[in-house]
């Protein structure tokens, strides 16, 4: 066996070991990775996932591509896996456009799209490790976030 196929086999074996370690003995749960969790909700708020709408409750696990919407009396606060905190005021629509937090593989990304309303952002580890990886888009601008606490509104 030449060096190349030997090393690729090693990589393959390692991957299998890593996967077994990551999931072995643990319930697999949802196939889609959890990117964060809603910590508090007041008033009305819904999450739109794969075209389905459901009410937001504290403890709800969030996925990439979720959209959150608060009513005129609503607000909510969430924490992403890297410790980033995002909270929304009333009459707000936010899309979790992309999220990646795997520092060991250098996969770091956070992009939020604020379509309407108000947002408070407190940076977490992604902004610390890779400031260029964090963006917030609004209908009128693109924001690059180096940290640490930012307020954004969109009409």
């Amino acid at each position: 066996m030449d060096a190349c196929s030997w090393s690729s086999q090693l990589v393959g074996t390692n991957l299998v070991i890593a996967l077994v370690l990551a999931f072995g003995g643990e319930p697999l749960g949802a196939q889609v990775p959890v990117v964060g969790q809603v910590k508090n909700v007041t008033g009305s708020a819904v999450v739109v996932r794969g075209g389905e709408e459901m009410p937001v409750i504290p403890g709800l696990d969030l996925q990439e591509s979720d959209s959150l919407r608060t009513g005129t009396d609503g607000s909510l606060g969430l924490t992403l896996r890297d410790g980033t905190r995002v909270s929304l005021g009333p009459d707000t629509k936010l899309h979790l456009a992309s999220y990646a937090f795997t520092p060991a593989e250098n996969q770091l990304a956070l992009s939020l799209r604020l379509l309407r309303g108000t947002l408070a952002y407190v940076s977490g580890r992604i902004a610390k490790l890779a400031p260029a990886a964090v963006t917030i888009e609004t209908p009128t601008s693109i924001i690059g976030v180096r940290g640490t606490h930012l307020l954004v509104s969109a009409e």
Partner: protein, 201 residues
């Protein structure tokens, strides 16, 4: 003639409506709620980028226009617009580092003694999730260290579970020797790299 006037009027109306409904936004930089750190941000629109570096400064952006130069935004306006979003902010996540004996999944005595503090922090939060990530130093090969990191994470989970923490709240992973806290060459025993990073969110 008549047709053109109708089109012209329609166009004018459309332009007016667009001008009235022109979306606008505001971006304000404020100090970190716990550390007071300032940080910074760039705001890009209409081919122009402005930089926010001062606490309390902000920029306004209308659709298709460039961001206004950074300037102080009156606190009353910040409170009025962002009060509800600020009030909804989740509690700050807390991170703990736990250290381990060389080549084993046994915690150092000092780290083992910090378990009650961690349990106390967990009990303070009604809605929480916890990540437990095991790491190793570069002693031994990567294939040994990946499972060692996981055994360390499992040990921490078991200690917390024994203290009454629901195991379902804890997400485990190993980075083996791939994510050193203190960069070293291969085969270097480094106590600070033999760790579990625990984040309570």
């Amino acid at each position: 003639m008549g047709f053109h006037r109708v089109v012209l009027r329609g166009l004018l109306l459309l332009l007016l409506t667009a001008a009235c409904a022109k979306p606008a936004g505001l971006v304000v930089l404020i100090p970190h709620p716990e550390t007071g750190e300032i940080g910074g941000a760039t705001v890009s629109a209409g081919g122009e980028t402005v930089e926010l570096t001062e606490p309390g400064h902000g920029t306004r952006v209308r659709e298709g226009e460039q961001p206004t130069p950074p300037a102080p935004i009156p606190p009353a306006e910040v409170g009025q617009i962002f009060g509800a979003a600020l009030a909804a902010r989740a509690p700050a996540p807390v991170q703990f580092l736990l250290y381990f004996e060389l080549g084993r999944e046994d915690l150092t005595p000092e780290s083992e003694r910090s378990i009650p503090d961690i349990v106390q922090e967990i009990r303070r939060r009604p809605i929480l999730d916890i990540s437990i990530i095991g790491h190793t130093d570069t002693t031994g090969d990567a294939q040994f260290n990946m499972p060692l990191g996981m055994r360390r994470a499992v040990r921490v989970r078991d200690l917390l579970a024994a203290a009454g923490v629901d195991p379902a709240l804890m997400e485990l992973a190993s980075h083996g020797e791939a994510d050193l806290l203190v960069p070293t060459a291969d085969e270097v025993p480094e106590p600070r790299n033999r760790r579990v990073e625990l984040m309570i969110r």
